[in-house]
Symmetry: C2
Subunit: 193 residues, 2 copies
DNA sequence: CTACTATGCAACAAAATGTTCTATAGGAGG
DNA sequence: CCTCCTATAGAACATTTTGTTGCATAGTAG
């Protein structure tokens, strides 16, 4: 019992348009009417797929906010693994739709339970990746088990997001190098706790 | 030529209500209709004060997006100064309108130049405070001059904002103690650069 | 007391937001 | 090719939101 290809086609076309509107004009402008005008899909069809504006916006959000699931590289030295993983994360913030809509998801999350789920799930995934990198380093004996890994993970991810969403400072290779260097030196100087 | 007190009164009452709506329900719900219902001000009067929805939202925004200035304490040991300053910052995030509104300012900043100015100015101020704390510690010889102060400042502030705006994790005394401890141990282990 | 003006209210216009019906066209299975 | 099923477009419609205007009233300044 396969799904009708027409369902899939309209859903895809509608969400493509919704995503573009979301990125270009903000969540306020993601409506059935706007999507209908941007595509050749009638409003009634859109309402059949998403009963109200909220569900349409949620769908558009989820479309972009679904993490591409990065399998972390855990074989090299800690610095190399971290550099690679955070490089991918930084690239996503700089060059993907996720980076563009992240501020709006953050805002929506402050009043909307659904958006909050989107972002916390997304972050859980990111944290797991970074944690795997540190865990591997501990297994290799590269760092000791008593480094405050949880705090390091938080700092590792918080910094690029903070720079992007709040400071509007450049997220470039040079900055990332220094960031990773600092994280590694903390991990290896083993501040204990 | 003084301003008619009726103008002042309605403006204040309207913005009070708008602020509450903004914090409780999000920027989407800040409309002339909603404010009118929340107060005893007629819609037509509201439209006379703010010609459209955008100007009303902007006004509500600016009302609370002006953060209080914190003069840093720079006399005690580094840990104590940092703990105090970040404690104030954390308190503001937890318990003031600014903390509730920050996510929406962040979102607005992604499309609105004015909001971006508000937040970057605010951050510049915060960074200066933290920098003063580190500078004093260097002057006292408590830490050496070659610690990567800029990165530490960024991490110091990024972490609480990240936790509050993105992770929705608790910002409590216990977390802050660990955060400050880690920052101090980094500064004192002097990872160089 | 008089002139002025902000307000509330109601009536209205325009646009956005949902709903429902019907005809049509596309797809599934024989 | 033929038939049944279903998703769609389009229009007609009801409802709500958004913005405008005219007027009587009440508060304010002088």
């Amino acid at each position: 019992m396969k799904e009708d290809p027409r369902l899939i086609a309209t859903r895809q076309a509608a969400l493509d348009a919704a995503q573009r509107i979301l990125m270009d004009e903000g969540v306020l402008h993601v409506t059935h009417g706007a999507v209908s005008k941007a595509t050749r899909i009638s409003r009634s069809t859109l309402y059949r797929h998403w009963p109200d504006a909220r569900s349409l916006r949620d769908a558009a959000f989820r479309r972009i906010a679904t993490p591409p699931n990065i399998p972390p590289k855990t074989d090299g030295p800690l610095r190399s693994d971290l550099r690679w993983l955070l490089g991918v994360l930084m690239g996503a913030l700089n060059d993907t739709p996720w980076g563009q809509i992240a501020p709006q998801v953050v805002a929506a999350a402050s009043t909307d339970e659904e958006a909050r789920l989107v972002i916390t799930e997304f972050m859980k995934d990111r944290f797991a990746s970074v944690e795997a990198v540190f865990a591997a380093a501990i297994d290799r004996g590269e760092i000791t088990a008593d480094v405050p890994v949880d705090q390091l993970i938080e700092l590792a991810i918080a910094a690029p997001y903070f720079r992007k969403l709040i400071r509007y400072e450049a997220l470039d290779e040079d900055w990332l190098d220094r960031h990773v260097d600092l994280l590694c030196s903390i991990a290896k100087s083993n501040p204990g706790r």
